[in-house]
Subunit: 682 residues, 2 copies
């Protein structure tokens, strides 16, 4: 990150004087911002800047100025809510007054077809002007500084920084969070990101001591590879949550993003993914409030069977274990619980469960081999839920254990006061036990992930010694030279060459038609298998020559026939956003039927390649299945690494498909190659 | 349904006089029930029955009696909240007083180890006693009769009947529903179901005019086949929603259900499934409020991009289409919307969208080929959401169109009043657009399902002409006689018989070792393929005889070799709850790797068998894939029907596996059979 943007963001989040540009008449946006700032108790100074130096209606204490340049001492932050045509001039004033950063609320730029106006803002930010958040955004909050420069609901204080491309999603999240008492350290709606965007914000917030968790709502990705790098680096320091919107065709059309087609962008991202607003909020609350979940074993303590069962079902469906207590713990529980309680897991205290029951049961379970616990209470109009909340809070207040405890207290007004008790005790409460179980599964995913070592690769770019269209024999000999294992093969351009080859090679053989016009050779009958004699060869050649005479037939490729491997596909694609991406998938028609594919930004190291293999549904087959032997995963991983290195090394490779690759008990062979060479698209 | 239970349920839901048994001191359960009934405005008469004829504290108007037998005119309904040991005597009194139905709130029966006490209640219900709901339940509500005989939050009036095995889940659902203004026609917590349970309730409610939708929370299943029949019949009349809890090992352990292992029970159920309480509530609201969704095309109209995109993503992920409007509709929209609006789909009216914009846009989209619409509003503190709600309501109030319109207005206090406006207009409002999209996907699933014709099968039971262990040659000849297609085959018990067969049969052949001890022949090398000559046969026989000499070798089965079909598996299992179940799945190792299997209660008709095939991931392969030919699905469907008929016909068949079955371009062959015969388990 450039020094410049870190300094600008420092000022953005901790300004002493804020200049608000725009009409401060009631109902106007600048007036709304001033009133939110005042209501939030901003301790610094607010200055309303507008041509007639009008004071904000209803705020006689707030100073006004006609021109930022005339303001002695300038300002740390400008918030601009002017009509689009006046924004540039305001920024020019800010530049002259030395204002380091501006939030441009105003719309009417790229999103409205005014790309030129937005380019001019960006140019100013790159030049002498202030750094810019926006335009077309909903503003900024920094609860530690009591700064609420936004038209949205004011955030409660908290430890999660929420940055969002969509102002409306920001507003919805803040409103829902407020209802549930969930707070934020920072809120940034960055809109069109003419200058500062998620990259700079993530990098800043990764080091921000007020921020324990970062949450991002993202629609379109521009600098994909950088983004993933920043997210990976950030994830090693603190949990990083993301909603990626525009995952489907209509969604991505509406998001105006061109990454919808890149299924890979989902898989390659190390962030903890939420599907929507409610999941994101649940995760914000869980990650910001809870200590790490060190293993996958959880206890569910409840006063009612059904909701406990639903939570257990969800937990196990998401890979957690809801195992019964061992004999020692069970004896301990029997010591103080009535015989009516179910001592499995979920542990059902029944409707007679008291606060003390919750406390002692949770303590006993957490002291055993459970890694965390969920406490469920279903209230009736005649039950004292506050006492139960106090019991849960007492059990969770055990710094020695440092295991996460969450609650699901249902529902409505009956539990409103008990939810406040839980909140004050730092215990996140979810609307249902199922949602608590979801959060625990993500805690597990994050804390269970081994810290990946970031290895930096150095790959030198080379010119590709091939030109389009690349025939298969050329691709094969090029790839062999790059270390990709193929069976012995020979390119024969005529019957005479086939005859000659027939004398030297060992059977059985495969013969493939060579032609720049045939893409899917096997579908069109261009591959003949099981050739066992010289006669077979000659007959086969005649057949292919006849069949493809109309398709620029250029001879055949003779290859040794590999028997009995497990088919996979390995490939390389060049993505306009993420650059070279390597993939491995289940082979044959299953690739398309199942979309059983794992992707990574290229290049990858062997450990990552092994991870990719492990992600496949087909992984079980490679491990040996129902008596069939285990296959050489390591050799496959090495092949994936080799293919991945070709991406950065040869920018002219547009696409490479090794389909199939046969994975044997020892070793691996690519038996078919398709390489598309061409200019790199921009 | 027996007449008796229908009459009892009539009285249960529409009683004129209710006798409440138990202590009516403040804090006691009978007192809570009396106060809920009073607060709910029960128009009939309440009588408190307890030994000293004490009046309920705080309710001087309520009559009391010492003995139900002494009460002239008896009662239509008894609600019993006595300690368990006194329940039987109370029921005896009810029997003598002619009370037709009793709700036993009391716990302390089977759930507490007192199975004997519960059996006695059941025996009374079967004899002269009243029919029983419970014991160990949370009571009954019937909003049309203003009957609230329960300790839970009182339900609002509505059109959904909610029946639940868990009282606590019932309480949580009622509390959450109350918060959202979602109502119910009936509520029944039926607890231990000593007598009346979900079967009788569903059958009654299917015909109940006050009930448009039925929702069930179910933990354990006892009479599985009957339940599915009742659900299927009900689903043809009205939407049937279900949460099946206890899906995982810990969940089913806690549910005390022995159906957890029955993965099939999930697939064979025609109900609309909800994973948890919130999904169930969303579905209740949607199905009870909305007209049918006739196709899968929906419009999303929003005033903010991000939340619209999230809803579109979810909708498309769930199989709906969020397609752009055609040119005519687009021109119409351009006529009244500002140039800033995005006219794709989602249609973004921007933050400036008015109530009139919502109304006209929704009308235009619904008048086009859209089948339904979701209206999203993300409020800010400075936006008039009530006006937007009125616009949505105006558009939805178009009886001519009868297309479903739902809303997602966010969030919290800012939209409280607008949610009331929507509710009054009969428009269901969901917490997020994603959740509205989920509901629309389920509307589509329900209304898109073609009305299935209920064909009743008449299958006569027969004795199985085989005894355990069944060798493959015996299984094959039995199955051939039952019309299952196998390739020509011959059982040879000696080398001499093989020699003889070799003179008559046509090659190529497959030879399989026959032995009662070999289960997975191919895994253990017991199948030899590609035998093309007599010499091959003799060599092969020697090899198998040698290999399996230690495994009760009983000769070989010689079969014609079928080439080039798509492998599937067809089978029959006998489930302890559901009885015979037929299955079809992707073949080979993929069956286990993918669990790509469809199941149905046997027998099935051809239409159902085609449906099963359509559910497979492998269905695409059967339809012809990347140039490979389409396979004979009809022949496969006929085979499934034939296999399914064997279930009811031969109760002694425990299990049958045809693995693989080869599906050819014309016809289908089973090439391997494993049949397990034995006594039917109970």
């Amino acid at each position: 990150m450039e020094k410049n943007s870190a300094r600008a963001l420092d000022k953005l989040f901790h300004p002493r004087r804020v200049a608000v540009f725009g009409s401060v008449k009631t109902g106007k946006i600048a007036h709304q911002i001033v009133s939110q700032m005042e209501a939030g108790g901003f301790p610094g100074q607010i200055v309303a800047v507008n041509p007639r130096a009008e004071q904000a209606e209803g705020f006689p204490g707030i100073r006004a100025a006609a021109d930022i340049r005339a303001l002695e001492g300038g300002a740390d932050l400008a918030v601009i809510a002017l009509p689009a045509p006046y924004v540039e001039e305001a920024l020019r004033g800010c530049a002259e007054a030395g204002v380091p950063v501006a939030v441009v609320i105003s719309s009417g730029f790229r999103e409205a077809g005014n790309a030129e106006g937005e380019r001019r803002l960006a140019a100013m930010a790159r030049g002498r002007g202030p750094r810019i958040i926006g335009p077309n955004c909903a503003g900024v909050m920094s609860t530690g500084s009591r700064l609420f420069a936004s038209i949205e609901v004011r955030a409660l204080p908290g430890r999660t920084a929420f940055i969002t491309q969509s102002g409306a999603v920001g507003g919805a999240v803040l409103a829902l969070a407020g209802q549930r008492g969930i707070g934020f350290s920072k809120f940034v709606s960055y809109g069109n990101r003419a200058d500062l965007g998620e990259l700079e914000l993530i990098e800043y917030l990764a080091a921000d001591e007020e921020t324990a968790v970062i949450a991002l709502y993202l629609e379109s990705i521009t600098r994909g590879a950088e983004l993933l790098e920043v997210i990976a680096a950030c994830s090693r320091r603190k949990p990083f949550l993301v909603i990626k919107a525009g995952r489907t065709s209509s969604g991505s059309r509406a998001a105006g993003s061109h990454t919808g087609c890149l299924a890979g962008s989902e898989e390659v991202c190390e962030a903890i993914r939420a599907a929507g607003i409610e999941e994101l909020l649940d995760l914000c609350d869980g990650f910001a409030s809870l200590p790490p979940l060190r293993g996958g074993r959880i206890a569910i303590v409840t006063n009612s069977g059904g909701p406990g069962i639903l939570a257990a079902d969800r937990a196990e469906e998401l890979g957690l274990s809801v195992a019964e207590p061992g004999p020692t713990t069970r004896r301990e529980l029997q010591g103080f619980l009535s015989g009516r309680c179910a001592l499995g897991n979920p542990i059902d205290l029944t409707v007679e469960g008291t606060g003390a029951n919750y406390e002692r049961t949770l303590r006993a379970m957490l002291a055993s081999d459970c890694d965390g616990a969920i406490a469920i209470n279903v209230a009736t109009p005649f039950l004292d839920s506050v006492a139960l909340a106090r019991g849960v809070a007492a059990a969770a207040a055990q710094p020695a254990l440092a295991k996460p405890v969450a609650a699901a207290f249902m529902a409505g007004e009956m539990v409103a006061e008990s939810l406040r008790v839980l909140k004050r005790s730092g215990i996140p409460a979810f609307p249902t036990g199922e949602r608590a179980a979801f959060v625990f599964s993500k805690l597990r995913e994050y804390y269970g992930r081994s810290a990946r070592v970031a290895e930096s690769f150095r790959v030198e770019e080379r010119e590709l010694p091939l030109s389009a269209p690349v025939l298969e024999p050329q691709a094969v000999s090029f790839l062999k030279a790059e270390g990709i294992p193929f069976p012995a093969s020979r390119y024969c351009r005529s019957l005479a060459e086939v005859e000659e080859a027939g004398r030297e090679v060992s059977f059985p053989l495969v013969m493939k038609a060579v032609s720049p016009e045939i893409l899917h050779k096997s579908d069109s009958g261009g591959v003949l298998l099981n050739l066992r004699t010289r006669e077979d060869l000659l007959r086969a050649y005649g057949e292919l020559e006849r069949r493809f005479s109309a398709f620029s037939f250029r001879g055949v490729l003779l290859c040794g026939q590999v028997e009995g491997g497990v088919e996979v596909i390995v490939g390389l694609k060049r993505d306009p956003v993420f650059g070279p991406v390597v993939l491995v998938g289940a082979g044959g028609i299953w690739t398309e039927v199942l979309r059983d594919v794992a992707l990574r930004i290229a290049p990858v190291e062997e450990g990552e390649a092994m991870e990719m293999i492990g992600e496949l549904k087909a992984a079980r087959i490679l491990s040996g299945f129902r008596g069939s032997p285990a296959r050489d995963r390591e050799a496959l991983a090495r092949l994936i690494v080799q293919v991945s290195l070709l991406g950065p090394k040869y920018p002219a490779i547009q696409e490479l498909d090794l389909n199939p690759v046969l994975v044997l008990e020892r070793g691996v062979f690519a038996v078919d190659a398709r390489l598309i060479a061409g200019e790199v698209r921009d």
